[in-house]
């Protein structure tokens, strides 16, 4: 044994070592991102068809203020802003996870056909003229169904590899795509705009932000301690196993977690593209690829991006609203390309 510091006898577990905690090292960056996120949330609550000045906002938060302001802020804008934040955070975290799981920088939360399954569920409910609760519910079921289908098929008779999982997901997604087109064609004209909005992401369907927010908080708490294992997993399954990672259980958990997070996001706000792909990459370009930082930072930055995008979506051509997915793409694509261009 050349490492005398590992303690304990042969094959025994080493005694726990004292070392600096993880939290202090991550804190400065995460505090900065939290501050930016809070500023974005405040902005989202203040801006809209009726601008609420910050003094009025403060009064409302203290439980006073004008009744109109209170209704606007407490019943409409805060839930919607929080739902946007949670959705963006969920998508970005799940994108970061998928990219590590598939060891493919092009992976995003939707690459495994999740959004397609969710969309078929949601559009099906809309075709039948069911209410928003049904739309959300069937989107969730569709997403999970797609997950199980892709994983079962990729697993096949042998074992799955990232490449096989990716191919299966892409092909299943193409199948869902055909069904979506079919539904749009046969759908009654008056329902088409709603269906298209859902496909481009629409936070008007967000009923309560809490399920998504809770999912996001739980995900961060679970995933951050796994960060170093994920760093090792990114080096390939064999290298990870040699370094003590239980590869299969970890890959399974990541797959299930990423799927659930995406399903929660899609259920809240429809399919919103680019956030899951672009946010983790932007953060990697800025902060390096240590997952311990990238995962919680993705939650914050993804949330911030979507809050800003949704604020723009509902004010840019007010009183009309744009699908938020249009804005995330318009904001995200140039920013991402700029960062990529500047990086070495």
């Amino acid at each position: 044994m050349s490492g005398a510091d590992t303690g304990a006898g042969p094959l025994g577990d080493a005694s726990s070592r004292s070392s600096a905690g993880l939290v202090p090292r991550l804190l400065p960056t995460l505090l900065l991102l939290t501050a930016i996120a809070l500023a974005a949330l405040l902005l989202a609550v203040a801006i809209g068809s009726v601008a609420v000045p910050f003094s009025g906002l403060w009064a409302v938060l203290l439980g006073e203020g004008e009744p109109l302001h209170r209704t606007l802020v407490v019943e409409l804008r805060i839930p919607r802003a929080l739902a946007a934040f949670a959705t963006g955070g969920l998508l970005a975290v799940s994108g970061a996870l998928m990219q590590v799981l598939l060891r493919n920088p092009l992976a995003d939360p939707y690459v495994l056909g999740l959004s397609g399954g969710a969309a078929v569920g949601a559009l099906g409910a809309m075709l039948l003229g069911l209410g928003t609760a049904w739309v959300s519910g069937s989107a969730f079921v569709g997403a999970l169904l797609s997950t199980v289908l892709v994983f079962g098929l990729a697993h096949g008779t042998g074992s799955w590899t990232p490449m096989r999982l990716l191919l299966t997901g892409v092909v299943v997604a193409a199948g869902w795509g055909a069904m979506i087109t079919f539904m749009l064609v046969i759908g009654p004209t008056e329902r088409i705009p709603g269906m298209l909005y859902w496909l481009m992401g629409d936070l008007a369907y967000a009923r309560s932000p809490w399920p998504a927010l809770i999912a996001l908080a739980v995900a961060c708490a679970v995933v951050v301690p796994l960060g170093r294992s994920l760093n090792v997993l990114a080096r390939g399954p064999l290298q990870a196993a040699t370094l003590g990672v239980a590869v299969r259980p970890l890959e399974w958990s990541v797959y299930v977690a990423a799927s659930l997070l995406t399903a929660a996001a899609v259920t809240t706000a429809g399919t919103i593209g680019f956030v899951g792909l672009i946010v983790p990459h932007m953060l990697r370009l800025l902060f390096g690829s240590d997952q311990r930082l990238i995962l919680p930072a993705s939650a914050l930055a993804g949330g911030t991006l979507l809050v800003l995008a949704d604020t723009l979506a509902r004010t840019l051509i007010a009183p009309e609203q744009l699908p938020v997915g249009v804005i995330t793409a318009l904001l995200g694509v140039p920013t991402f390309l700029f960062l990529l261009y500047r990086s070495r």
């Binding site: 050349s2 070392s19 090292r25």
Partner: protein
């Protein structure tokens, strides 16, 4: 610490069992595996590392079945230097070496100054000092290989499994890696490596395993195994040998094996 193969048959689809391996890889020994392409050298190495299930038999680490041990426990004692590696995400040289400390850290730990020091020393040992902040993607093949060795050093194992550890290396660094492994063995570690170069094996290994493509194998002390006729049969290539400083040196001759 010892690594033992007991009646081990590696699982290569479509190949008959051949000779079951009974190897006792002890601390202090340097083992070399020789064999032509496709003989199963890497498969054997992965099986000995517990990364692949054998067709039959078992591998014992310190007398305990390897597959019954937790990966984390194994990782604290056994390191593998792989032939191929994945760098899908950008990382610095230091970060890459540092993952060798993973088995010793609990989820909420950050690497301590001591861990960083271990990694820096390993990088220095592999002539990578000054490159700590370089991105792995910018390294040459040989530098990347030395980084893989440095990562294994950072892992502070007592059993070393190395798949062609001299791949991509220039002559000087080939010797430096072999010397490192010999030093580790002299300090009591067990070393087991696949090699393509018979002469490196002849110079640095004290035990050799010859692995034939049909699953046959023979093993023993290096000087007993380095018989020209056996090596010619192993590679299907005729060889000439000369003595240099008391050790045999083998050179392929032009003709295929007679």
């Amino acid at each position: 610490m010892d690594l033992e193969a007991y009646e081990l048959v590696i699982d290569i689809p479509g190949r008959s069992d051949g000779v079951p391996l009974n190897l006792d890889i002890r601390g202090g020994q340097v083992w070399g595996v020789l064999g032509p392409n496709g003989a199963g050298k890497s498969t054997l190495l992965h099986t000995l590392a517990g990364l692949r299930r054998p067709r039959s038999g078992q591998v014992l680490l310190d007398g305990k079945p390897l597959l019954s041990l937790r990966r984390r426990t194994v990782a604290r004692h056994l390191a593998v230097i792989f032939q191929e590696r994945h760098d899908s995400f950008p990382a610095s040289v230091l970060e890459t070496a540092m993952i060798g400390r993973h088995p010793f850290l609990s989820p909420w730990d950050v690497e301590t100054a001591e861990d960083i020091d271990t990694a820096l020393q390993a990088l220095r040992r592999m002539d990578l000092a000054g490159m700590e902040q370089r991105s792995v993607g910018t390294l040459s093949g040989g530098e990347r290989q030395r980084l893989a060795v440095a990562t294994a050093i950072t892992q502070t194992p007592s059993v070393w499994l190395a798949d062609e550890p001299t791949n991509h290396l220039d002559l000087h660094h080939q010797v430096s890696v072999m010397r490192l492994l010999a030093e580790r063995a002299a300090a009591g570690d067990a070393v087991f490596m696949c090699l393509h170069d018979i002469n490196l094996a002849a110079r640095w290994c004290d035990q050799l395993l010859l692995l034939y493509p049909d699953g046959n194998a023979c093993w023993g002390k290096a000087r007993d195994m380095l018989v020209p006729s056996a090596l010619e049969r192993l590679y299907g290539q005729s060889l000439a040998s000369v003595e240099l400083h008391g050790a045999p040196v083998f050179v392929p001759t032009e003709s295929a094996r007679r």
